[in-house]
Amino acid sequence: MTRYIVRRLIGTIPTLFVVSLLIYSILLIAPGGPEDRFAQNPKVTAAALEAFRKRWGLDQPIPIQYCRWVGVCNPDGQGLGVFISNQGLPNFLPGFLGGGDNGVLHGDFGYSSSSGATVISLIGARVLPTTILAGVSLVLWVILALGTGVLAAVRRYGKADTAITIFNYVGFSFPTFWLGLMLIIVFSEIFRLLPSGGMWDARTVPIFGTDEYWKFAGSQPVTALLDLGRHLILPVVTLVFVNIAGDSRFVRAAMIDSLNQDFVRTARAKGVSERNVIYHHALRNALLPVVTNIALELPFLFAGAVATETIFSWPGMGLAYIQAVDNFDYPVLMGILVITAVVVVAANLLADILYAVVDPRISYG
């Protein structure tokens, strides 16, 4: 088992390498560069643009740029010395082993080309909000998917099944942003029941994630939770409504499959109650593919939250990405892409391992 996990872990390295190459080349193919935000500003002279490009290393050959960004090359090095860190050892090693301190390998994603802040600080603040939105949606969506999927499978071809199927497909067909804006117009502009956006009430609650916020949450946990809950309702409803279709259908399929298995028939023949058959025998068997499927869907959830975040002013990764696109902020774009790619690869790995652990039929020698 350990050998299998180690092998799979090593197997992700080439994938991540190709991912980093792809991210780099995608942004290179895209015309322009960070300097494009000055394209319309005649006060920024050609000489200034040249200096700006030099400052961002954009005057270097592309392989060198990539090599520096990854952290294998030392930006201070010359000739073959680029691979050697200032401590005299190969640059790609961790800092404490004598390597360099630049590049993605050393956790340095550089600075935002528009604001000068470190990319890590910009992205770091976005992780928790996105995780909360995605996490709450995921939990709700799994519960609902299981409920509706099992019901649909048990009542196959019945009225409930048809209703659930139609509901699923209709939700799946809605453009997320349209649904979100309609909800805002109805629930905040017309009925004034729910906030139109944001993650906390700007009037009464401190900025989320700051010390003041945790102090506030510690002293008035109910108020803090209620406030967060109020702000979560519309985005979560949007996310769940448009995403539930996939899993609900999947649960239904897995459940039908397992209801047709021999052991279920045996259980029925033995006189086990139908309730027991469904919940103890069939559902348990159907959960395995469902759980692994959800691990594989995690990344879609993160990416899919972009539309929801942009509509509901949710200060997460998706909104940060769009802001960076608007700003021609290449370092931030690359940082977010790398981090999402790592999350995706990790989720795939997790799904594989989970599957290997739970399913005895998989040999992992």
Binding site: F38, A47, A51, R55, S113, G197, F208, T310, F312
Partner: protein
């Protein structure tokens, strides 16, 4: 979404363009001779020019109401996240000014009626008040700083800051850091006297007319000195450590959660040493929405006291807002159709182009454009000035919409209508290409409406929507034959907005024949390729004098020329933008500002009922 934000990207860049760039005027071939008299030929077109009347550019009507209640938190709303706290230095979006303008003051600023007032300076120097002294081609400006004023960390604000910031702006390290202000203006300063005092004399080596735009904001020397210039953007005014930064304005930011919120507290040094009163609010909070529609919904829902940064295109979405809460004011930004005179000349000959241009001026129905496109939210304009600008001449006649006149002008010039109804001259059909940014529906709509207005004349206008960068990209950055690129002149008409300033020097790079982008270093913005010696001479005046009556006189003549059928000027101004903000009825002293300064320009005066 992000319509407002997006428009600001395009527009904010033009702000810089419009601020009058002397970087680009530095080339000797370009700089007009200082001896050019306000042209003889020009004078003949304006025989009624009257004796100069005294002009007071500080005579504002704005008067703050006394603070009636103190305490509480002011919650503002805005759409889009600012890019950096360095207002006007390294920023990208214009909304950065809304967020951080009230935290970092400049020497001067504009009021809501486009007048000038001192922020950290107590005087607005002009020739009349002897604040500006001209000696030959040189210019000395005396600045009196607010005495006893302190930065937020208690250090005094003096001429040392002015001197240091001047040198800091000119440091070569700024290029690499991406300083959007550039060296414009600062490089014309030869020296500054008054170190250690609050009376500074800035010596300019040449006349720099828009000098009131310099030092906005003024930055603290002792803070800037702590790091090398090239590292400033990374280490100073850092978003995660705003508390350690040094500020001068009434409220200073303490925390910034991107895309969510910025918190401010009163700057006690400001209130004790500059304003000498207590702050009306205990705290200010700026809530950041990701798009204008949800910002409006948030205001309706009572989440914020005031919603900032809207324009005429957002009014349609304000159906649920109480009309009394909608505060509209005409902006200095004006929407216009740039007609490419070079392309028209090439197609229809010199005489044909002139007649066609004149006919177009008559064919435009600007009232219809206003009602249809903006729902009557703007006022159609005749020319490039805002009515409130000090140099505006209100007595200039306008083209009147007159389709018959347009037809007769065309017929007189030899244009004929074919059996299929299409207009042509010497066998060339009048088929034109209209360009707009793909993401601005109202512009595509406006061009389509104009196409329908000129269709009865037999003119065929095809509207093309292209990416914003295609429209504005510079000479060397885009293939020369890219359709709709303004720099290369691959268009017949293009719609976009110019951000004018309360200062007329900006027109120079737009209308001077020296700034035809096909010429020189291609950095000019005379996209319309107007080439008029009279105009060149008049524009030169704005570059060689700071004598306000002389400038006003020249501007009056330019305005006249702009609407004179004899000139058939190839730019058609449609309307001034409307700057819009939403305010709760409990808020006082909110004075929406349509100038280049921001809607929060007088935040220190705002207060709220209990």
């Amino acid at each position: 979404m992000r319509n407002r934000l997006g428009s600001l990207i395009a527009v904010s860049a033009l702000v810089f363009a419009a601020c009058g760039s002397s970087t680009t005027t530095a080339a000797p071939s370009v700089a007009p001779p200082a001896s050019t008299a306000p042209g003889t030929s020009v004078a003949s077109t304006a025989p009624e020019s009257q004796a100069p009347i005294p002009i007071d550019i500080t005579a504002t009507k704005y008067k703050a109401e006394a603070v009636g209640n103190r305490g509480g938190t002011l919650v503002l709303g805005m759409s889009g996240d600012p890019s950096t706290a360095w207002t006007n230095i390294y920023d990208t979006f214009a909304n950065d000014g809304e967020a951080f303008g009230p935290s970092l003051w400049g020497l001067w600023n504009n009021t809501n009626d486009l007048k000038y007032y001192g922020q950290l300076a107590t005087n607005v120097p002009t020739v009349t008040n002897k604040g500006v002294v001209l000696t030959g081609s040189k210019m000395d400006v005396t600045v009196n700083m607010v005495p006893g004023a302190n930065w937020s960390d208690g250090q005094p604000i003096t001429c040392d800051d002015v001197i240091f910031m001047w040198k800091w702006q000119l440091d070569p390290g700024q290029d690499a850091a991406g300083n959007v202000q550039g060296k414009t203006g600062y490089q014309d300063i030869s020296s500054i006297d008054g170190a250690g005092t609050t009376t500074c004399v800035i010596h300019f080596s040449k006349v720099y007319e828009p000098f009131l735009g310099l030092f906005g904001p003024l930055l603290p020397a002792h803070y800037l000195k702590t790091v090398p210039v090239a590292d400033a953007i990374k280490k100073l005014y850092v978003d995660t450590d705003l508390k350690s930064a040094v500020w001068s304005g009434p409220y200073m930011p303490t925390a910034w959660a991107h895309d969510a919120q910025i918190n401010y507290v009163p700057n006690t040094q400001f209130w004790t040493t500059i304003k000498k009163s207590a702050a009306p609010f205990d705290a200010v909070t700026l809530k950041l929405y990701s798009n204008t529609d949800t910002e409006i919904a948030g205001f309706v829902n009572g989440e914020i006291d005031a919603a900032l940064e809207f324009n005429q295109n957002n009014i349609a979405a304000m159906g649920k807002v109480a009309p009394a809460s909608i505060d509209k004011v005409a902006s200095v930004t004006y929407e216009q159709h740039s007609w490419n005179y070079a392309s028209l000349t090439k197609k229809f000959g010199a005489a044909g182009a002139k007649a066609l241009m004149e006919a177009l001026h008559y064919a435009y129905d600007k009232d219809a454009i206003n009602t249809t496109i903006t729902g009557g939210a703007v006022t159609p304009t005749c020319n490039f000035t805002n009515d409130q600008a000090w140099f505006n001449d209100p007595n200039i006649p306008c083209y009147k919409h007159d389709a018959d006149k347009a037809a007769s002008v065309l017929a007189a010039a030899g244009f004929t209508k074919g059996s299929d109804g299409s207009l042509s001259i010497n066998g060339t059909k009048v088929e034109l290409l209209g360009c707009a940014r793909a993401d601005r529906q109202y512009r595509v709509d406006t061009l389509n409406l104009v196409a329908s207005q000129i269709k009865p004349l037999g003119i065929k206008l095809t509207v093309k929507a292209v990416p914003p960068t295609t429209v504005f990209k510079g000479w060397g950055l885009i293939p020369a034959d890219t359709p709709c690129n303004l720099t290369h002149g691959n268009f017949d008409v293009a719609e976009f907005a110019w951000v004018a300033t309360p200062d007329p020097g900006s027109l120079y790079t737009l209308y001077s024949s020296q700034f035809d982008p096909s010429k020189g270093d291609h950095s000019g913005q005379n996209y319309i390729r107007v080439n008029n010696p009279d105009l060149d001479a008049l524009l030169a005046i704005t570059q060689t004098t700071v004598d306000l009556p002389t400038i006003k006189d020249a501007l009056s003549k330019i305005q006249k020329l702009y609407v004179d059928p004899a000139n058939a000027f190839p730019e058609i101004a449609l309307y001034n933008w409307t700057t819009v903000l939403l305010k709760a009825p409990t808020l006082h002293n909110v004075a929406n500002n349509g100038s280049a300064s921001v809607q929060t320009w007088n935040l220190e005066d705002w207060w709220k009922d209990k």
